[in-house]
Symmetry: D2
Subunit: 248 residues, 4 copies
């Protein structure tokens, strides 16, 4: 009997510690578009999403895709950047595919990138020490600021430079999008708790009608971080399909 209890307990331990011990496996399956999508933590959504007039539904000309921070220093481990996002490299193929789908549909693709001054004087205070040697992350003109291999800006796309988390912070992104008649946003890239989430919350604050985050074309340092942020975004009305669900 004690051994049964032991077995049961071990099983429970295994299940509950999935986070730590099965991380690598899960990550590969999860990021490769496999069917094991961890359950998103339940949302405290205490009201039904309101069926607001979605005049734009289906009209892709009113949708833009924001591809955020898919630069070598963020997603290419070979760069050995202090800004590397652990889960970033794994989503490059999904991001590339999402961009391909967007182009097929005629959706405007906006490449949001960081490009900093070598001195770091336009970087957040808490990251400024990385720039003391003049070779900080995503410095304008250096290799680390380039898009990850496989991602290419094409004619008709728009490139937007930012210096903080949110693509909307102190940039003219809202100006360009609103004037083009863009009402809906689809967001991919890294990383979920910072640049993705800040861009998403700003988009909601800026009254974009429909904000969609592709859950498997975004990533964080760890799945639990990714998922707790997805949970919070769902709570404010953001849609979070997989690429497969979105492309249907």
């Amino acid at each position: 009997m004690p051994s049964h209890l032991a077995l049961l307990s071990c099983l429970l331990v295994l299940v509950l510690s999935l986070d730590k011990f099965l991380l690598h496996y899960l990550k590969r399956r999860w990021h490769s578009g496999g069917s094991i999508i961890p359950r998103i933590p339940t949302s405290p959504f205490n009201f039904k999403s309101h069926p607001r007039p979605m005049s734009a539904a289906g009209k892709w000309s009113e949708t833009a895709m924001l591809v955020i921070d898919m630069q070598k220093d963020f997603v290419d481990p070979a760069m050995a950047s202090p800004m590397l996002v652990a889960g970033g490299e794994a989503v490059i193929p999904t991001v590339a595919e999402a961009v391909a789908v967007a182009r097929e549909r005629g959706i405007l693709v906006v490449w949001v990138v960081r490009e900093h001054d070598p001195s770091g004087r336009d970087v957040e205070l808490f990251r400024r020490h990385f720039y003391s040697g003049g070779k900080g992350p995503t410095v304008k003109g250096l290799k680390g600021a380039e898009l990850a291999d496989g991602l290419v800006i094409k004619e008709g796309d728009y490139k937007l430079v930012k210096t903080r988390f949110s693509a909307f912070f102190a940039t003219h992104l809202d100006s360009v999008l609103k004037t083009l008649g863009i009402k809906n946003l689809v967001i991919v890239g890294v990383q979920t708790p910072n640049c993705i989430r800040q861009t998403v919350f700003d988009a909601v604050e800026l009254d974009y009608e429909k904000v969609t985050v592709l859950i498997d074309a975004t990533a964080a340092a760890r799945p639990d971080i990714h998922l707790s942020n997805i949970r919070d975004m769902k709570t404010i009305g953001v849609e979070t399909p997989t690429l497969e669900e979105w492309r249907r």
Copy 2:
């Protein structure tokens, strides 16, 4: 021997499942100001916090306290508002005490509140349906927009009206604070994943030198939501003491 293993396993299970099985108990203790502060999820902080020049350290004249959304519709269950934050009422005493400490120290107290048009035309799209009857949450002039009982704006304090999550979104808060020479912020109120976190991230983007969130004077719908957001804020250099730790 197996029984030792069993015991150990059980213990592990208990510890790891704290989140799920002891939630209710923890919540009551936590919200009642008890001493059990749940462990914050580990942060993927992959670099040491940089000891940046804190010229303002100790000078309270360079610090402001932002008290966010402590209005009846958010924290008083008697209002039966759809915007009620489950954990909100429990932190009112801690918020009141934090404000008292701030005043003793000569710290500027800024009361950040929502005050909406009865029509709801200045509310986020996903919440606009609450205003169809003309009696939506935190409408300017109605009872729900008042501060919770026990909280009072005094002479010398500053009141700031906002219409979105972040106290900095489309307001003149940064203008007032920067010009007054404010470099450090201490943030209390509700709720952690939305208005608190957005204000905090914006504060970091706006280069406030030191941003502090009082972990027991802020609240969310559930402890796990509160804590995952505290985790993410710590990752970008935000300090998260309890009121007791901060007042020392």
Copy 3:
């Protein structure tokens, strides 16, 4: 003969100094909707106004009227405020009439007002000395911040508080207007070189499709100041009809 020359010269002097000696007369005629509208200085407009797609033309639901700073301290000489705009009082009737026309047409009326902290800590630096005594101009709650006699906010109107020249500076005005589908603005109030012009230029920067300034429902300290600013606004595509021309 010399006396003929003298006479002619005197006449010329009189004509050219109209500005200084006939000001009061001109002002009354001009502001009362009389036919003496001084010629606007020629604009260096070196290109034809582009006939851009005016999808909103004629649809008043896409137009908002901004009534700017029509507060006692700005336009009522009885207040003896240092902020009094010399030409302000004379346009109150025209502004009131413009608002009436807007309401007839179903145009949203936005009352943009300054309301400052008694301490003056949210006022521009160069005006802050007015607030040393605690009784500075347009302090929230004081008489000087009230609308001029004859102007009333009605149900359905929107009131917006600002703390700088432009109605768009650090306010949520653009957020409210864009989300309501407002594309065109009609602007009245005081004073032309500061709050009117800054609001107008910001409106152009924010891509409002059609920006209209009612030339006789706006005013400055002197007609030459009013007119040189009207000239510059015309140069960037702003329309500047009289109220009569606009109401046709």
Copy 4:
């Protein structure tokens, strides 16, 4: 006696008509860097400039120079751009000298430039028609967007891209300057009624302590336009010395 009156009158006529009859002469002298600086129209400044605490006075590390729009399409007639500012070419030497003085003093030099998308989708609506052929003014990467001959960005300078009149509109300029401790601005470039004035008014709204416009290192299409705008800027506390006066 009549002849005395005649003489006096003629003199008055001459003085008062300076504006109209001596314009052409004045213009040539002014633009050629001559010493005749036309009298600035009197300001309706109805209060003394407040001697506010200028902690930064004399400390050049707290001053930045903004060099605005000194790009070929704005100031080089050879480009035959529709955006050419008539008075622009004449101030290139003064701007170059101002930059040299700034560098000697250790003042941060910020090169503010327009760089637009070939499609013109990030240009003001009223100028968008220039971009129909794909070769609009100051397109990123094209010759017209380059700095005028003789002006060079050096190491330590900062380059800031904008898409509207004001250097502060939807850019991170304020973020960079405030965090660097910049409190005072010196502004040069083109053109006075649009990009210069908008940047200046925004700077005042953003509480920069001292804003200085070098009157002979800025230019407009015509002297009267230049001067009426200088007049309005003086009224809100902006200093407007010549380069010679500033360098003393």
